[in-house]
C-alpha cells in the first residue's frame, strides 16, 4: 500500500470517528451542563438531571417495559429463525429463497404503515390483542426478523455449519446432541450479533410502541418523547442512559457467550 493511499485511509478513519463521536460527546456534555447556551463550553457541570431522572418512577417502568420487549423479541426471533434456517439449509434449500425474500419485508414497509395496519386489523378482530403489549411484542419480533436472519445466516455460511451438522449425524449423533454440541456453540456469535441489533432496534423503536400501546404501557422511546417535549436536557440524559444501558446489556450477552462457548 502506498503512502498516499494510507494517508487517505487514516484521514477517512479520523473523519468517521469525529462524525460518530462528536454528537455523542456533545450529548454527554449537554447532559451534565448547568447551562450551555451562551458560551462555547458549558458554564458548569452537574449531575442533577441524572438524579432527577433516576428518581422518576415512570422512567424505571419504561426501562422495564423496553427490556422485557427486547428480550422477548430476541428470544422469539432466535427460536423461530435458527431452526427454520437450519431446516431450510439442510433439507429444503429452495425454501431459503422465499425466507430471504420475506426477510426484506420489514425493511421495505415503513413502521408507521405496519403499525397502522396491525392496529386496523386487530381492532376489528374478536381476538383480545388490540392495544396490548403482547401484540407489540409480536410486531417487534416481525421487525426483528431480518436482523436475526441476516446475522445467523451469515454466520452459518461463514463457518459451513450445514457440513458440520451432516458430519455430526454421520458420526451417529442425534439432533438434540448436535444442537447442543455443534449448532449452538458455533452459531452463538451470530445469534449474539442478531440479538444486539434487535436490542438497539427495540430500545429506540417509537412508531410501533406509540401507535399500538402509547402511554398505557410506555416504553423507553415513548417516555423519551414525552420528556423531550418538556425538557431538552432531560432528553439528552435519557439518551445517555439508554446508550449506556444498551452497551451494558450487549456486553453482558457477549461475555456470557464467551464464558459459555469460548467464542467471541
Amino acid at each position: 500500500m502506498g503512502f498516499g493511499v494510507e494517508l487517505v485511509l487514516v484521514l477517512a478513519l479520523i473523519f468517521m470517528l469525529i462524525y460518530i463521536l462528536f454528537p455523542v460527546g456533545a450529548m454527554i456534555l449537554f447532559s451534565v451542563a448547568t447551562r450551555w447556551d451562551r458560551t462555547v463550553w458549558p458554564e458548569g457541570y452537574t449531575l442533577s438531571a441524572y438524579s432527577t431522572l433516576f428518581r422518576d418512577r415512570e422512567f424505571w417502568i419504561a426501562l422495564y417495559h423496553s427490556t422485557v420487549l427486547a428480550l422477548t423479541a430476541i428470544a422469539l426471533s432466535a427460536f423461530l429463525i435458527v431452526p427454520a434456517l437450519l431446516t431450510a439449509e439442510l433439507t429444503l434449500p429452495r425454501v431459503k429463497k422465499f425466507i430471504e425474500a420475506f426477510s426484506l419485508a420489514p425493511f421495505v414497509i415503513p413502521s408507521v404503515l405496519f403499525a397502522l395496519g396491525l392496529v386496523e386489523t386487530y381492532a376489528s378482530l374478536p381476538i383480545p390483542l388490540y392495544g396490548t403489549p403482547v401484540l407489540l411484542t409480536l410486531a417487534n419480533t416481525v421487525l426483528a426478523f431480518p436482523l436475526m436472519y441476516r446475522s445467523v445466516e451469515n454466520k452459518m455460511h461463514t463457518i459451513g455449519l450445514a457440513k458440520m451438522v451432516e458430519s455430526a449425524i454421520t458420526l451417529g449423533a442425534r439432533m438434540p446432541f448436535v444442537t447442543y454440541r455443534v449448532i449452538l456453540p458455533n452459531l452463538w456469535s451470530g445469534i449474539v450479533n442478531g440479538s444486539l441489533l434487535i436490542l438497539s432496534m427495540v430500545l429506540s423503536e417509537f412508531a410501533l410502541a406509540n401507535l399500538m400501546v402509547g402511554g398505557s404501557w410506555p416504553t423507553l422511546s415513548v417516555y423519551l418523547y414525552s420528556v423531550m417535549r418538556v425538557d431538552g436536557q432531560a432528553a439528552s440524559v435519557l439518551s445517555v442512559v439508554s446508550f449506556t444501558f444498551t452497551w451494558l446489556l450487549t456486553s453482558l450477552v457477549t461475555v456470557g457467550g464467551v464464558r459459555r462457548y469460548g467464542l467471541s
Partner: protein, 359 residues
C-alpha cells in the same frame, strides 16, 4: 451378496438427473474409488450411501440388510468431507471423541480410543489444539480419525486430499492407504484425480453423466478401457483415427499401415486406436532403413519436448497430427525439438474403440 450394494439407484435434482440406473457392489475391506469429471454424480453417490440424500428409486443394502430408509445416525457409515467440517469449538480430542460421546461411551474408553486414533494418524501431542491451530494436513488427519472413532462399517471419503498441497497430498495418500489396510475398513472414496484413484484403490469405478462407464482394478481400467470415455479420462492416450480398406483386417493411419491384434471389426470402416504415450518408442530414421514398409511405423518431426522429471514427453507431428511419446529418464536426452523421428508401437499395446463400445 456383496457387503455394500447399490441397486438400480436413481436420483434427480429438479429436472437434472444425477444418477441413472446405478448399480454398484463393494466387498468387505475393499478400497473403492469413484472417479469421473465434475458433475458426474460421484459426491451424490457418496451422500446417498451416507443417508444424507434419499434416492428417488432403488435400494441400498449393507451386509445384506436394506438401509435405504435408515437415517444417517443408524447406518454406521462415517464420512470425511472435502472441507473436513471439523468442529471449531472443540479441540482435536473433542473432535475425535465426538462420535463416541454421541454413543454415550464411558470416559475412560473414549480417552483410550482417542489416544489410539491419535497414534494411528500421527497426531499424538496435539490433542489440546483447536482446528484453526493445525495445518491443512493435520486437519485432514483429525477428520479421518474422527470418522474412524465410532468404528463405522463403511468409511466414505469425499475428495479428502483436494485441500492440501501437492507434497502433503502424496504423503497423506500413502498414509490413507496404510491406515485403511491396517484397519481393514471398507472404504469408498471420491476423487477427480485419476492418478490418486489408480494409486490408492483396490477397485476403480469410472463415472460419467450419472452412469458407471467401467468398474475394475486400476490395472484393468488403465490397460483395458472399455470405451472411448474411459480411455481418454484415465491416463493419457493418443487417439489415432484410422481407416480400413475393404473388408480386410488392414487399417491405415493416413497412408501408414497399422497392424492390429486379431479381432472382429464388425464391418466398421473408421476406427479410433488408443495408444498410451509410454508404450510408443522413438527411432532415428536411419535405424529403420530397409524396414520402410513394415507396419506400425509413423515418421514425423519432434515439435516440442516437455520435461516431467521421471519422463520426458515429446510432441511428434505425423502428417499434421500430433502424437505424444513418453521417454523415460536419460534416454530422452538424445532427442531434441526438430529431430526427424519414426514412432513405433506394438500391436498388443493398441486399444481399438469403434462407435461407443470396444472391440
Amino acid at each position: 451378496m456383496a457387503y455394500l450394494e447399490m441397486e438400480s439407484v436413481e436420483k434427480s435434482f429438479a429436472k437434472n438427473r444425477v444418477l441413472t440406473h446405478f448399480n454398484l457392489s463393494i466387498e468387505k475391506g475393499e478400497f473403492t474409488t469413484l472417479v469421473g469429471p465434475s458433475g458426474c454424480g460421484k459426491t451424490t453417490t457418496l451422500r446417498i450411501l451416507a443417508g444424507l440424500e434419499r434416492p428417488d428409486r432403488g435400494t441400498i443394502s449393507l451386509e445384506g440388510v436394506p438401509i435405504t430408509d435408515w437415517p444417517p445416525q443408524r447406518r454406521q457409515i462415517s464420512m470425511v468431507f472435502q472441507s473436513y467440517a471439523l468442529f471449531p469449538n472443540l479441540t482435536v480430542f473433542g473432535n475425535i471423541a465426538f462420535g463416541l460421546w454421541a454413543k454415550r461411551i464411558d470416559r475412560l474408553t473414549v480417552e483410550r480410543e482417542v489416544m489410539n486414533l491419535l497414534d494411528i494418524v500421527g497426531l499424538k501431542g496435539l490433542e489440546n489444539r483447536f482446528p484453526h491451530e493445525l495445518s491443512g494436513g493435520q486437519q485432514q488427519r483429525v477428520a479421518l480419525a474422527r470418522a474412524l472413532a465410532p468404528r463405522p462399517k463403511v468409511l466414505l471419503l469425499d475428495e479428502p486430499l483436494s485441500a492440501v498441497d501437492a507434497v502433503v497430498r502424496l504423503r497423506l495418500r500413502e498414509e490413507l492407504k496404510r491406515i485403511q489396510r491396517e484397519l481393514g475398513i471398507t472404504t469408498v472414496m471420491v476423487t477427480h484425480d485419476q492418478e490418486e484413484a489408480l494409486s490408492i484403490s483396490d477397485r476403480v469405478v469410472v463415472m460419467n453423466g450419472g452412469r458407471i462407464e467401467q468398474v475394475g482394478t486400476p490395472v484393468e481400467i488403465y490397460r483395458h478401457p472399455v470405451n472411448r470415455f474411459v480411455a481418454q479420462f484415465i491416463g493419457f492416450s493418443n487417439a489415432l483415427r484410422v481407416e480400413r480398406k475393404g473388408d480386410s483386417q488392414e487399417v491405415f493411419f493416413h497412408h501408414y499401415p497399422i497392424n492390429l491384434p486379431p479381432l472382429s471389426l464388425n464391418g466398421e470402416k473408421r476406427l479410433t486406436l488408443y495408444v498410451r504415450p509410454e508404450t510408443l518408442r522413438l527411432h532415428r530414421p536411419h535405424e529403420l532403413r530397409g524396414r520402410e514398409y513394415d507396419t506400425n511405423l509413423l515418421p514425423g518431426i519432434i515439435r516440442l519436448r516437455a520435461f516431467y522429471g521421471a519422463i520426458t514427453r515429446f510432441e511428434v507431428m505425423v502428417n499434421g497430427e500430433i502424437i505424444w511419446v513418453d521417454v523415460p529418464g536419460h534416454e530422452a536426452d538424445s532427442w531434441q525439438e526438430g529431430d526427424e523421428v519414426v514412432v513405433s508401437f506394438s500391436p498388443q499395446e493398441v486399444r481399438i474403440i469403434t462407435g461407443g463400445g470396444e472391440q
